[in-house]
């Protein structure tokens, strides 16, 4: 066990250089997940590179109308930002559906996207977990997996991604902005998280040393009706059993923009492409919604303990789709 070093770089460039100089380093911002995992022994970095004070804590509007939310912006500030609330309600709602007031005051945009699964086997060093310790096995597969994945899981890992924010970003077609030794690049938020496959130890497409500098919210989604709904075991302060983020625009009774992503169902936010394809250009009716959502969910592969997630996800999706449809389609 090595002593824990601490560095506080003055710029993004310095941060990336520090990482390159210290293999085994971790970037630290809000710490709400990293410090938690360090205490559990799941993470044991040699060096912490504190990026919490880098000037990445703003929301700015780019010339093309894109809204850029900085990586170290605290979740509570992002959720409360008037431009975010007014243009991307699904994003604000997703953030506010997660964690607690205290945690949202500390947790950052980038950290939220990089939070690890809450799978209890991942968190317990005395139980097998391929994500924590590749090759050790998946304890959840034979153990208790009520909270686990129904989409995209593998025999190596059935964990889910716990982020609410990521689900909203996926539905907004947002992009994640990264900075590394090779410069800046962007990844669509819906593709930022991976499926576990044979390498569940890799949660995301981020490369070693790359730093999330912000998320880009597209102008095209601004002002489009959107909403987030989450089901959980208690009324607040709990992770999603399932959730849904929907961006829906209906003109003359016809769906002309639709994005739907599920949370709590997979190792990443689950974009319901089959639903979206079926609905685009279709009449915005409850029946159409029901059929389109079923197209996605019939592909689910629930496990012994979590078959409930499929109807739960369906109900959440239909509820939000119907609510976002301008004329009460349920009459």
């Amino acid at each position: 066990m090595k002593a824990l070093g601490y560095l506080r770089p003055g710029s993004v460039q310095e941060a990336v250089e520090a990482f390159a100089a210290h293999p085994g380093a971790r970037y630290l911002a809000g710490g709400t997940n990293l410090v938690d995992l360090m205490k559990l022994g799941v993470e044991s970095p040699a060096v912490l590179i504190d990026i919490g004070r880098l000037p990445l804590n703003t929301v700015e509007e780019l010339p093309d109308g894109t809204l850029r939310a900085g990586a170290t912006l605290r979740n509570s500030d992002l959720a409360a930002h008037p431009l975010v609330r007014d243009r991307y309600p699904v994003l604000s709602q997703a953030l506010l559906a997660g964690a607690s007031g205290q945690l949202r005051n500390a947790a950052t945009t980038g950290g939220n996207l990089l939070q690890r699964t809450r799978c209890p086997y991942f968190q317990d060093l005395d139980k097998p977990c391929n994500k924590r310790e590749p090759g050790s096995g998946c304890g959840a597969l034979q153990g208790v997996h009520r909270d686990h994945a129904v989409f995209g899981h593998s025999v190596h890992c059935i964990a889910t991604n716990p982020s609410d924010l990521a689900v909203a970003l996926a539905a907004l077609d947002a992009r994640v902005e990264l900075y590394g030794t090779e410069g800046t690049r962007c990844i669509p938020a819906a593709d930022f998280h991976r499926l576990p496959g044979e390498h569940p130890e890799r949660d995301t497409e981020i490369r070693p040393g790359e730093l999330i500098t912000g998320v880009l919210l597209p102008a095209a989604a601004a002002g489009v009706p959107s909403a987030y709904r989450k089901a959980r075991d208690r009324a607040s302060y709990a992770f999603a059993l399932a959730s849904v983020a929907v961006v829906l625009h209906v003109a003359d009774g016809v769906v002309d923009r639709i994005a739907l992503a599920f949370g709590g169902l997979a190792h990443r936010p689950w974009r319901a492409h089959h639903t979206e394809t079926a609905l685009l250009g279709a009449a915005a009716t409850p029946a159409a919604f029901e059929g389109a959502v079923a197209l996605e969910l019939e592909r689910a592969e629930p496990l012994r303990d979590n078959t409930y997630k499929v109807p739960l996800a369906r109900n959440l999706a239909l509820d939000v789709l119907n609510r976002l449809t301008p004329t009460p389609a349920t009459l």
């Binding site: 809450r118 304890g139 075991d233 607040s236 109807p311 509820d319």
Partner: protein, 900 residues
């Protein structure tokens, strides 16, 4: 400028109100506050027409007085002359001369408190202490039992506020029932608003008053210290290493890597830990053998300078095991299941009366259902912690315990020390709910680590270790069979429980016991089957037995009501027994019917459409449900001392534990009335083992046990003072009481508290999420000794019952042998958003067969039946009977979909 950020000078953050505003804003004229809340039992009718002092009529405190009094009852208000005291001595404060003279105090206070003719006082003073004691403190029961004393005597002799004692004196229980119905219009049994600003109760009327917590200021300012918060010089920190297998033996513990870390002082292992004498509770035999009885069992202990270093060291310890196959699955057909004859406290495991099978088979209407309750965790907010400090062969521990006297006894056994070399301090305890009832491994480990390292050591269990370490509520499976005639009369009641125990210590969750108490039936069976498994040890959790048992029983009763098409309140009333069904004993008091009726009235039960699925709000289905509650009256012998000091104050000492109940406060109230002195003259000392030994805060018996001894000591002291002439010596006068032989005598009565819970729920048909909208508890729990803290305990129990119903549940991880939900993110204790405006109230109950205060326990009954009321409301909302807790969205949604 010490506040930071937005709170600085911000009127919103700072509240924008002065304290005066807040108090003025309470909107209650003082008279009402006092009359309504302070003296709930002074009903002139009930009191048999004795003149009473009406605080309003007496002039009382004006609101201005209250504000001037700063809301603190101590001294200030008294000095302010705000007391409506017709007695100038009491109102103006006793002079030293009065005290020394003795007579002034006794007589004056008696008059003030009781309004009885002075002659009575004189007569009473003539009684010796022995006489007082031998008459059991002359409480109401004695009068009833024909002690021959005039009523007035027994009243004053008890030192109790006259209203109650007199009322109870000779009134049969039934009378109490009759008059304990709905409070009269405009005069609720207690104030609806708890914001009482701590009115000063009149002398002799402290009991029952909504007095504020004596340690309150310390708690809200962060000054109250808990077990891990004693910064002794050189203090080190310990961190346990939990077993990573469910059954086997430790083969080797490699400590080299851990010891090499900076700041690490020692690693204790089963090989080298100090040897202990064998404890009664094998849970405490930690690091004494390489055997691993369950996953999470402590197999090593790291000790280091700091918590961080201890944590790192614990992680660096390498343990290898010889692993054996484990068995942790609770199956009713398990071949090892046994039927315990006798369990904790001598309660029989099996009871049968009549021929229940035949009676059930012959019943007009039958309900035969299975219910399940999962493992539940106590999870007090303060994790178990001990700070241990050796000074030569003297040991001091600061520990989070519900009973410091037992802690000392156990330490003395384990470390083979005389008890007088051990000091146990448990000044503030951050909740226990049974999990701190007896010592847990943190105590022993901290003491061993301190001995090994020669330094004070704090061990505060990491939250994740609690589920396997400190006990939990064992899961229970219930088969309920109810047979009834068409008119609703029960003809057979069979409650068969299967549960598990660990291989470390036998513990049986006695969930079948309430069936022996609740309903009249000739043919009764209440049985327990127990499967020993390689599981972490189950133990007490709030209302052990009653909580899961009454969930199952009261749910089944609701099913029977449904089958009979009978109102569930009426069904319960119809089956009200006149004697305890199991023992045949008469009840000392039983006001379940009054609770049901009063609750039904307040809940508008008669406007309920009994048909399920009869109410909806958009996607929400609404329903209401009811369930009864019961909890036995328990009491244990205790000692206590009462001391009169020359300055006119009194000190009451007892090694009670204040786990959040407000023990300091209520004991002072008991003492003040027994001494017939103003409450602010009495100081209470609790939470240290150098105080008089006392039983634990458990079984809802703490206040009764300690209070009985306090009452007796104070009664004795009052007599001593009355007989005393001349000035008090510098050390004052002290009287010690020991209720052994009194508190532990068998009662000819069946003694229980009862209650009724009413719940309204909303079930979201989209998600299956169920939320409680309203929750009401009405209790009959003897005399309520402090209206403010009692209400908090009732509401607290109901809140835990809400969690049991909807959010709390632990899962045995069969392949690994421990629980899946090990932290507070996965084990869902209810959060603020889950909890509506819970209402708890009580009916007046005068029971002369309890203790000198006339009280029953109140700490646990709030959790009993609450889950059933909520579950029954879910059935009413959905038409679906869910029979396994908790009622989480997955289960509810599954049920809704399968009904479609």
């Amino acid at each position: 400028m010490t506040r930071s950020g937005p709170s600085q000078g911000d009127p919103v953050a700072r509240g924008g109100l002065s304290r005066g505003d807040l108090m003025a804003g309470s909107g209650l004229p003082l008279g009402e506050t006092v009359a309504g809340g302070g003296l709930p039992r002074e009903d002139p009718v009930a009191c048999g027409g004795l003149p009473r002092e009406d605080p309003v009529a007496g002039g009382g405190l004006s609101r201005g007085d209250l504000m001037d009094g700063s809301g603190l009852w101590q001294g200030e208000t008294v000095a302010g002359g705000g007391l409506p005291r017709e007695d100038p001595v009491a109102g103006g404060g006793l002079s030293r001369g009065d005290l020394m003279d003795g007579s002034g105090l006794w007589q004056g206070e008696t008059v003030a408190g009781g309004g009885l003719p002075q002659e009575d006082s004189v007569t009473r003073i003539g009684l010796s202490q022995e006489e007082l004691v031998s008459r059991g403190g002359l409480w109401r029961g004695d009068s009833t039992d024909g002690s021959g004393l005039p009523r007035g005597d027994s009243t004053v002799g008890s030192g109790l506020p006259r209203g109650d004692s007199t009322a109870g004196g000779g009134l049969p229980t039934e009378a109490a029932t009759t008059r304990s119905g709905p409070p009269r219009e405009g005069t609720p049994a207690r104030a609806a608003n708890p914001q009482q600003d701590d009115p000063v109760p009149r002398t002799g009327a402290a009991l029952g008053a909504p007095v504020g917590r004596r340690e309150g200021l310390q708690k809200v300012t962060g000054a109250a210290r808990y077990a891990a918060e004693y910064p002794l010089p050189g203090r080190a920190h310990a961190w346990p290493v939990p077993a990573a297998v469910a059954r086997g033996r430790v083969r080797a513990v490699d400590t080299a890597a851990a010891l090499a870390l900076p700041g690490v002082l020692a690693v204790l292992t089963p090989d080298d830990a100090p040897r202990l004498a064998a404890p009664d509770d094998a849970t405490l035999a930690v690091l004494q053998s390489p055997d691993v009885p369950h996953r999470g069992w402590c197999v090593a202990l790291a000790v280091a300078d700091t918590p961080e270093a201890a944590r790192a060291a614990a992680r660096a310890v390498r343990v290898t095991y010889d692993t054996e196959a484990h068995d942790v699955e609770l199956r009713p057909d398990h071949p090892d299941a046994y039927e315990p004859e006798e369990t904790d406290f001598g309660v029989p495991g099996q009871v049968e009366h009549g021929d229940p099978e035949a009676a059930f088979a012959a019943a007009d209407v039958r309900v035969d259902v299975d219910y399940r309750v999962p493992p539940l965790h106590n999870h007090p907010m303060e994790p178990h912690a001990t700070t241990a400090d050796w000074d030569g062969d003297r040991l001091t521990v600061y520990t989070s315990s519900q009973g410091g006297t037992t802690v000392r006894t156990v330490l003395a056994e384990l470390f083979e020390l005389p008890e007088d070399r051990i000091t146990v301090v448990a000044e503030h305890v951050g909740g226990g709910f049974g999990a701190k009832g007896t010592p847990r491994p943190d105590l022993v480990l901290a003491a061993m680590a301190a001995r090994r390292t020669g330094r004070p050591v704090t061990l505060a269990h990491p939250r994740r270790q609690l589920p396997t370490t400190v006990g939990h509520r064992a899961p229970t499976r219930h088969r309920l069979r109810l047979g009834a005639r068409a008119d609703g009369r029960l003809t057979a009641l069979l409650h068969e429980v299967t549960t598990y125990t660990s291989r470390v210590r036998d513990f049986v969750e006695l969930a079948g016991v309430p069936a022996r108490v609740m309903y009249a039936t000739e043919h009764l069976r209440s049985t327990h089957r127990v499967v020993p498994l390689d599981v972490p040890g189950p133990s007490w959790m709030r209302a052990p037995g009653e909580a899961p048992g009454m969930y199952a029983l009261e749910s089944a009763v609701d099913e029977l009501a449904h089958a009979l098409a009978m109102d569930p309140v009426e069904l319960r009333i119809r089956n009200e027994p006149d004697r305890e069904p199991d023992s045949g004993k008469p009840f000392s008091s039983r006001n379940l019917v009054a609770c049901l009726r009063e609750g039904a009235r307040r809940f508008d039960w008669d406007r309920r459409d009994p048909l399920p699925c009869s109410r909806a709000e958009g996607p929400l289905l609404l329903g209401t449900g009811v369930a009864a509650a019961t909890y036995p009256v328990q009491v244990s012998p205790s000692t206590a001392t009462a001391q009169a000091l020359p300055d006119g104050t009194f000190v009451v000492r007892v090694n009670a534990a204040d786990i959040g109940t407000g023990a300091r406060t209520v004991l002072a109230q008991i003492a003040a009335d027994a001494l017939a002195v103003p409450l602010d003259r009495v100081r209470t000392e609790v939470g240290r083992s150098d105080l008089p030994p006392a039983p634990l805060a458990g079984g809802s018996s703490g206040t009764a046990s300690w209070g009985w001894a306090v009452h007796e000591a104070c009664t004795g002291l009052a007599a001593r003072l009355a007989a005393h002439t001349g000035p008090l010596p510098a050390e004052g006068l002290t009287v010690r009481a020991d209720t052994t032989g009194e508190a532990d005598t068998d009662s000819p009565y069946a003694r229980y508290a009862f209650g009724a819970h009413f719940a309204e729920v909303a079930v979201d048909t989209v998600t299956g999420e169920t939320r409680v909208r309203r929750l009401l508890g009405v209790y009959a729990a003897g005399r309520i000794l402090n209206a403010r803290t009692a209400r908090s305990q009732f509401v607290g129990g109901m809140t835990m019952g809400l969690g049991m119903a909807l959010t709390e549940g632990s899962t045995m991880d069969l392949p690994f042998g421990d629980f899946t939900e090990t932290d507070l993110a996965s084990y869902h204790v209810p959060a603020h958003a889950d909890v509506p405006d819970i209402e708890a109230d009580w009916i007046q109950e005068d029971d002369p067969h309890l203790n000198p205060m006339g009280s029953k326990g109140i700490g646990e009954i709030g959790i009993v039946g609450t889950a059933a009321a909520i579950g029954n409301a879910v059935h009413h909302a959905t038409g679906i009977r869910f029979r396994e807790l908790p009622l989480t969205p997955d289960r509810i949604l599954g049920g809704l979909l399968s009904e479609r």
